[in-house]
Symmetry: C2
Subunit: 138 residues, 2 copies
Amino acid sequence: MSEICNLADKLKAAGHKLTWPRQAVIEVLENHTDHLSHNQILEEGQKIYPKLSRATVYRTMELLCQLNLVRPLYLTDATQRFISATGGHHHLICSRCGTIIEFDHCTAEHLTQQLAEQYGYLIQSHLLEFQGLCPDCQ
Amino acid sequence: MSEICNLADKLKAAGHKLTWPRQAVIEVLENHTDHLSHNQILEEGQKIYPKLSRATVYRTMELLCQLNLVRPLYLTDATQRFISATGGHHHLICSRCGTIIEFDHCTAEHLTQQLAEQYGYLIQSHLLEFQGLCPDCQ
DNA sequence: GTACGTGCAAAGGTTTTGCATGGCG
DNA sequence: CGCCATGCAAAACCTTTGCACGTAC
């Protein structure tokens, strides 16, 4: 997960215990790409710490969200996924086959400042999603 | 739902029967704001047609999605919600209290064309979501 | 009249919770 | 050593499915 680092340190700094199950979850987050779901985190985490339970994954991710270290994201299905809590995420999604292209160029930076001023928000991240049909599905 | 009109006609045009339960769902969609969930549609629909069942709401919304009349959307929770299938949707969301502001100004139009050319997608809608803290929650 | 749509109820899947045990600090 | 975190299992919740009946066309 691109911009995630030192999750372990931040957890301890916030006064939480650094246990083996939590280390496993953190290692998964740091070594994999974005958009991981609870299921994926569980599966990968059990390769590191086989006793890792589903409930612990849910509780750990909830904790990381509360600490603002990760953020939930929903793509084209109802599965909760997680991304780093800062920066932008840009998706071009085919509404038929579900293919997701991540693009870099984004025009949201200017708008971020503008909205921050207009509404007094402290903006931490943004998501720009285009939906349509990919060449194959048209 | 702002850009939705004549759902009934479009349903019939596509060869589907216009039943009372479906009319109730359509009336709810046309007379309420965006972002309705299955639950909200069921509750409102039952005010119009009391026997309306949850299963029918799910099936009707799935049908409307297949016909490209509405589109599923996920905001800050795992609840599936629905918006009109075209145009843009712009949200400024507080990650703590969940307040959603909808803003109008959007810089995505230019990017739409650019992405369409670059990747060959036929782009139907977009979603631009900023997440942060509202003035009260900072 | 026929095929499609519906309501009900059961099944399936996912997320949350309660509780006794275990391990971090 | 005390408290927090964990695993397990049950509960709660949401969504899907099967089936007999009803209704739009």
